[in-house]
Amino acid sequence: MSDNLAKDLASPAAGEGAMPTPPADAPATGAVPAATADAGALRDRPAGGGDELVRVTDLTKLFPVRRGTLVRRGAGAVRAVDGVSFAIDRGTTLGLVGESGSGKSTAGRLISRLLEPTSGSVVFDGQDISHLSSRQLRPLRRDIQMIFQDPYSSLNPRHTIGAIVAAPMRIQKQVPRRGVRDRVRELLELVGLNPEHYNRYPNEFSGGQRQRIGIARALATRPKLIIADEPVSALDVSIRAQIINLLDGLRTEFGLTYLFIAHDLSMVRHLSDRVAVMYLGQIIELADRTDLFSGALHPYTHALLSAVPIPDPTSHRRRERIRLHDEVPSPLNPPVACRFHPRCWKAQEICRTEAPPLLERAPGHQVACHFPEKRDVV
């Protein structure tokens, strides 16, 4: 990939460790040692304990629902995200999985501060960003970037891809030494596009190529955290793998941290170091990838894993089948106590009266269930 870009990313604005060493023959290497020192200083700064880049505590987002046309009165609220806590270490990927209505996308938008939390806090790189104003957020937008699901609606059809990829740099007034145009070319090359296509419009590109444009745009400001919300689910099977590999390669090359939001469990397994499973706005299980996929403890995680179709026609003879009844209840009026109890085959009296707290049952493995049990369902 582009050596120039690696150098650019290691410039003072990047302020991130784990950058590849710039090539000896690259021009203007003078700025780099300073940058590395800067990055080192940043890394030593306390970030809420350990090497955490993000720490989310009791994060809650309510969307009020109003009824009535003449007299508007509150009719409760959708508890989209309800008391969620987790951390993401620098240079790692946290996968956030769940079905529709689980709150995974809302959680992503709260962390990127596209939404403001109702309560709880988001600490990014040592700074509490939960209630910053849009002006205060502006410098932060550089560090947190998003990649969206739909590569058709997330690119302005009237702008050239050069303008699209350059936009974050212009807004942030981050003009690279060699000019915006050169940097856009580097970015396009980095994501596997022809840099000469600078002046083309999004409609001239396929879905996979558009997603690459979206990734180039996200990288333009040299972010620390990338929040990818279903980045491959709109793409064809043979294109998905290309994008997944690209995201994976960029993470290693630039030491990026990802929050990867997806419903496809096998994709999440491939890309994540840790995985959080959400159900009706809450995290019900959080563990390292291996622990989650081969030793899940929560019955809902078991049901999810069991429902994933395996591309092996002989597998259903060996696999355990767990079928949930009904569908996810409305987040407007979620079940009391354990939210999963109406669909759970293990539910006892306590599950209907007491919400199970998210407890660490094994090192690094948290689960919110009164009757956790290890089970291999794949």
């Binding site: 064809d236 419903h263 894993l305 994933v308 597998s315 569908e327």
Partner: protein
């Protein structure tokens, strides 16, 4: 030329089906000389990426393309021996809903928002059955119960938006099976659904097939879904058939490089983690400019081994073993060697 199905005249037989659309940019060759068949009681999974022609094929079978100057359909589609391509539109309309029915991906946009679910099922049923409204309503209640909707008599009076995604898909299925069709085509029936609901709908389709002994075609991009529900698999690329055979045979002994590419590029829960996914280079071609010869050759890793024919001659869909057909220029022995030495170790 059928799959491993029992001998006899196949219930649905498609032969040399060609569908093209004239557009301002040129002629779109959506389906090109496609042949396959499906027996009663069996499920064929058609897999392919966008633009592979899988949905156009199903619409052609259902007679849902408006033919005219811009659309041309050639070849044969025989439903229980009767050719639908040459049949008058009137006749095809009579068969549709009665002997063949279809389920679409998005049940919200395929149901009318201003009529209750019950009214829509009643109407679909009464088009083909001369019964009273009350009798049709009783039938609709039975159907909703059959597809697993709780309190069916009450839910009949709900509007589609009052149903959840999974329930809407169940209601669509109820409508489709209202006349006990012998052929059911499901176009991405679970793509819009959550994984736990998808599992429920696939179970339901399996149960209904047992009950009605219908022939089912399921169109999907998800190899997991095909493996789970199909007896046979047809892999399409650029409007053409690449590989066709029994599902266990094809998943265990795939012989087409495109099928290999698909199998290699997916992430799967039942395998060890890999550091890098294998990919198919490039992207699917435009159907206005389908590459000559084998349409897959520009993306094929093994095209050099196939010689110059790869880019000039279209490979026929030829039988590689009983019931397993492959459209590839590579010699059979070569394909099996590649599968054994290069592909299987990576799966």
């Amino acid at each position: 030329m059928t799959g491993p199905a029992p001998a006899g005249t196949p219930f649905l037989q498609v032969r040399d089906l060609t569908v093209s659309f004239r557009t301002d940019d040129g002629v779109v060759h959506a389906v090109d000389r496609l042949s396959f068949s499906v027996e009663r009681g069996r499920t064929l999974g058609i897999v392919g990426e966008s633009g592979s022609g899988k949905s156009v094929t199903s619409l052609a079978i259902m007679g849902l393309h408006r033919r005219g100057r811009r659309v041309s359909i050639d070849g044969e589609i025989r439903l229980d021996g009767e050719d639908l391509v040459t049949a008058p539109a009137e006749r095809v309309r009579g068969l549709r809903g009665q002997r063949m029915a279809m389920i679409f991906q998005d049940p919200l946009s395929s149901m009318h928002p201003q009529f209750t679910v019950g009214e829509q099922i009643v109407e679909a049923y009464r088009v083909h059955n001369r019964v009273s409204r009350a009798a049709a309503r009783r039938r609709a209640t039975e159907l909703l119960e059959l597809v697993g909707i709780p309190e069916p008599a009450r839910r009949l009076d709900d509007y589609p938006h009052q149903f959840s995604g999974g329930m809407r898909q169940r209601a669509m299925i109820a409508m489709a099976v209202s006349c006990n069709p012998e052929l059911l085509i499901a176009d991405e029936p679970t793509t819009a659904l959550d994984v736990t609901v998808q599992a429920q709908i696939l179970d339901l389709m399996r149960e209904l097939q047992k009950e009605f002994n219908s022939a089912i075609i399921i169109i999907t991009h998800d190899l997991g879904v095909v493996a789970e529900i199909s007896d046979d698999i047809l892999v399409m690329y650029a409007g053409q058939a690449m590989e066709h055979g029994g599902v266990e045979e094809v998943f265990a002994h795939a012989e087409h490089p495109y099928t290999w590419g698909l199998l290699q590029s997916i992430t799967r829960l039942d395998r060890q983690l890999e550091t890098t996914l294998r990919t198919i280079p490039g992207s699917p071609p435009s159907l206005i400019n389908v590459p000559p010869g084998c349409p897959f050759h520009p993306r094929c890793t093994y095209r050099e081994l196939a010689g110059p024919a790869a880019s000039t001659v279209r490979p026929p869909l030829a039988e590689a073993s009983p019931g397993h057909r492959v459209a590839c220029h590579l010699p059979v022995d070569e394909r099996r060697r590649l599968l054994r030495e290069e592909v299987t170790p990576t799966l």
